[in-house]
């Protein structure tokens, strides 16, 4: 039985540089300021990465593997809920593409191979637009959105 898969592609234009955008995704000190979470890894292909909520409990919400790292233009990771880390079928894939566009940057996030209708698919489809919008605001104004009320993974 093959379960139906679904994908999302999100795009935002940011008045910033590819280096700053790449850093904002991969540097925990920056990510926590607009995401309310940190992405922790050495970002070497084959290494693990984890998505950790920036609170006292430091809950690990998402885990996966680094597939490809080409700073500052491209990052590919696998993605699964921490409770489903042992199930190979639960992994989806996220591709960050960062390209210069006019005087700024075009950031595209493709989340592919998600199980259609799953809680994860619903969660990320609510989460990514908010995260990207907050990232844009953070890099352009220095302030991210208040994500403290956002318990979702992304």
């Amino acid at each position: 039985m093959t379960r139906e898969k679904t994908s999302f592609v999100y795009v935002t234009y940011i008045a910033s540089t590819p280096e700053k955008v790449f850093d904002a995704i991969t540097n925990p000190k920056i990510a926590r300021q607009y995401w309310g979470h940190e992405n922790v890894s050495d970002w070497t292909p084959g290494s693990k990465w984890s998505h950790i909520r920036d609170n006292d409990a430091r809950t690990v919400q998402i885990v996966g593997e680094v597939v490809e790292t080409t700073p500052p233009n491209r990052l590919v990771i696998t993605w699964a809920g921490a409770s489903e880390a042992d199930n190979p079928d639960s992994y989806s894939r996220v591709i960050f593409e960062i390209d210069p566009h006019e005087n700024g940057v075009r950031l595209s996030v493709s989340h592919i191979e998600l199980e259609a209708g799953s809680g994860m698919a619903e969660g990320v489809s609510e989460g990514w637009p908010l995260v990207l919008s907050s990232l844009k605001t953070y890099l352009e104004t220095g302030n991210g959105f208040d994500m403290s009320g956002c318990s979702k993974a992304a």
Partner: protein, 106 residues
Amino acid sequence: MHTDKVFKALADPTRRLLLDMLCENNGQTLGQLCQRLDMTRQSATQHLGILEDANLVSSQRRGREKHHFINPVPLYEVYERWIRKFEHQRLSLLHDLKTELEGKKE
């Protein structure tokens, strides 16, 4: 400037329908979208072009096919700018009213 494009793109029932259709089933091709719309490919392409230009739709080529994805990121920016602000004002008005009424009870 970019917000203008978002509002203009949304100011059309066909384009809002296209967004609803992609929300329901993301990643559709032009052919799939046209099947459910009573409209020519040419006019659907134009509407999708306006949505893409406003960054409300993103697309990806897979082989010969172009797949369209709803991109709600600009809507969140509109929400932050045009809705949350007013919600905040309304909530603080209610707060003031509550303080006023409760204060008078004493």
